[in-house]
């Protein structure tokens, strides 16, 4: 954790403001954790049958520890951003001394941003939308609301706050505005990350890493910058459910084979807008559960699907809070549309997994909304190759894709995320309906 004093340089302040609030403290933790990692690497891994279980167990333990780090630092970072000092007291409590911005011009600028933030979160339509989505998804969307709740407390306190405390609240609220609502700032931040993801392991799947890199290059670069690594794991991964208590069985039952996961090894990646940090967002493709390995076409489908999991209302680094709720609201409407396309995975396998595990129905709905979003993209835009574009065109022409709402939805939201040079799906539909040739399949 950083202790910031008002006399510290502007540069350091900006560095802190520029990152997600908890980032500084966590960077220190991660540096020390690397030493810890090296220590644990010294113990040889078991071989044979035990190896996979051992590796999985360690992966889970690491993920759990990362999650706890995030949980521990949530909230503290918000204070850090507002330039506080946290002073430990003898009785074990912490005194938070706040030192908000006192420069009159900056106070005024912060005040304007705080007012913009107030208008946005008190907007009647926005509030109705949030209430509607809470009704549908309950606690499963709490993460999207955490900052708003904090803002509401601060705005309430701001009504009567004076002097230094008022300046502190304004600094904090202005920071929130830039981070969560100011589209220009959000996109500017996301565009700092330009590296392509690393690719590994695909020779084990009968493909080469170079081939996968070439497939990824067909995508708009902006659609890959939230992914650190694309990795093949030569092991079958299953979604499982515990045996029913009355069945007397001991083994967990396999619900379905997991072909790929938009996996987050370090939960800290949400602090970093995904990129710029080693092994945070790792798109994992697993060994095919059948006898044959993934074909190139299946691989393309899997990649398209998993890539979009890094660009939904929760994970995209390019959306404002308002847009996140709006996107989820529209996706919910589509999910509920009885005429929409049905999918074996979203409409049958996912509910089966939740039912067998006795998991919450609201959580299931959110999962379905997420899977549907990835499937819309997989099926309609389906990668960015000319071959897939031709397939999509054929499907539109022969009436297989009667429901274009998914196409329009993908189009609108990729546009809102300012993903450059993507397939303009609505143009594609329009062009094919008119029979005109189109060049929208060309990628950079």
């Amino acid at each position: 954790m950083e202790r910031l004093h008002s006399e510290q340089s502007e540069e350091i302040k900006n560095e802190i403001l520029d990152m997600r609030p908890e980032a500084k403290a966590l960077r220190a933790i991660e540096e020390e954790s690397a030493e810890l990692e090296a220590l644990t690497e010294k113990k040889p891994a078991p071989e044979g049958k035990e190896a996979h279980e051992w590796q999985r167990n360690r992966k889970w333990k690491k993920a759990a520890l990362h999650a706890l780090t995030f949980m521990a630092f949530s909230g503290v970072g918000i204070e850090t951003r507002a330039q506080n000092q946290i002073l430990p007291q003898k009785d074990g409590t912490a005194l938070i001394e706040t030192t908000g911005e006192n420069d009159p011009k900056k106070v005024e600028a912060n005040g304007k941003k705080a007012e913009k933030l107030r208008l946005l979160i008190e907007d009647k339509k926005f509030k109705e939308r949030v209430a509607r989505l809470i009704g549908t998804y309950g606690e499963t969307i709490n993460f999207l609301r955490v900052e708003i709740v904090e803002n509401e407390w601060d705005l309430e306190e701001l009504k009567t706050a004076t002097g230094n405390r008022r300046n502190y609240l304004l600094t904090k609220l202005a920071g929130s505005y830039d981070y969560y609502w100011n589209k220009k700032e959000i996109v500017k931040h996301a565009e700092k990350f330009t590296e392509m993801p690393g690719v590994s392991g695909f020779e084990l799947a009968g493909h080469s890493n170079q081939k996968v890199e070439a497939i990824l290059k067909e995508y708009p670069a902006d659609l890959l910058t939230n992914i650190d690594e694309v990795r093949y794991v030569d092991a079958v991964e299953n979604a499982v459910a515990p045996p029913a208590p009355e069945s007397g069985e001991k083994k967990e039952s396999v619900v379905y084979g997991v072909a790929g996961r938009a996996y987050n090894v370090g939960i800290q990646s949400v602090l970093w807008h995904g990129r710029g940090y080693e092994h945070s967002n790792v798109l994992t493709i697993y060994k095919a559960s059948g006898e044959k390995p993934h074909t190139e076409s299946q691989l393309r489908d899997l990649l398209a699907h998993e890539i979009l999991h890094y660009y939904d209302w929760e994970t995209s680094p390019r959306l404002t809070t308002g847009e996140r709720f709006e996107m989820l609201d529209e996706q919910t409407e589509y999910l509920d549309n009885p005429k929409r396309r049905k999918s074996h995975y979203t409409d049958e396998l996912v509910p089966e997994e939740y039912k067998k595990n006795h998991w919450d129905e609201k959580a299931m709905r959110l999962r379905q909304a997420k899977e549907l979003w990835a499937e819309e993209f997989e099926d309609f835009s389906g990668g960015f190759t000319t071959a897939r574009y031709e397939t999509m065109k054929r499907n539109i022409m022969n009436g297989k894709l009667e429901d274009f709402s998914g196409v329009k939805f993908s189009d609108k939201w990729l546009n809102n995320m300012q993903i450059g040079d993507y397939v303009k799906a609505t143009n594609l539909v329009r062009d094919n309906q008119s029979g005109r040739p189109s060049m929208h399949g060309v990628r950079r």
């Binding site: 020390e32 810890l36 995030f70 521990a72 939960i267 949400v270 919450d360």
Partner: protein, 87 residues
């Protein structure tokens, strides 16, 4: 069963005290839901001792976040190393 109900049940089963349970139930909101879901899925695979360790680990990290006590942090990291090395 909701995610928080699952978490509370698990923590009770592992013998985590009420105060700590409340802390977990509050802080879990800081995780995006699918991460929280994965996290709880993982926790459900762990034994009681593992969960008790994690409860202590969370407390230590919160304490470090509040106090910036490097000695406390070093101790927590050493304990994490032992935790990772155990089967």
């Amino acid at each position: 069963m909701t995610l928080k109900e699952r978490l509370e049940k698990l923590l009770k089963w592992a013998g985590v005290g009420e105060e700590n349970r409340t802390l977990w139930l509050q802080r879990i909101d800081a995780l995006p839901f699918d991460r929280a879901e994965t996290f709880i899925y993982i926790l459900e695979k762990f034994g009681k001792e593992d969960i008790q360790f994690l409860a202590k680990n969370l407390n230590d990290k919160i304490e470090f976040a509040r106090t910036n006590d490097r000695a406390l942090f070093q101790r927590a990291l050493r304990e994490e190393a032992v935790f990772l090395l155990q089967k």
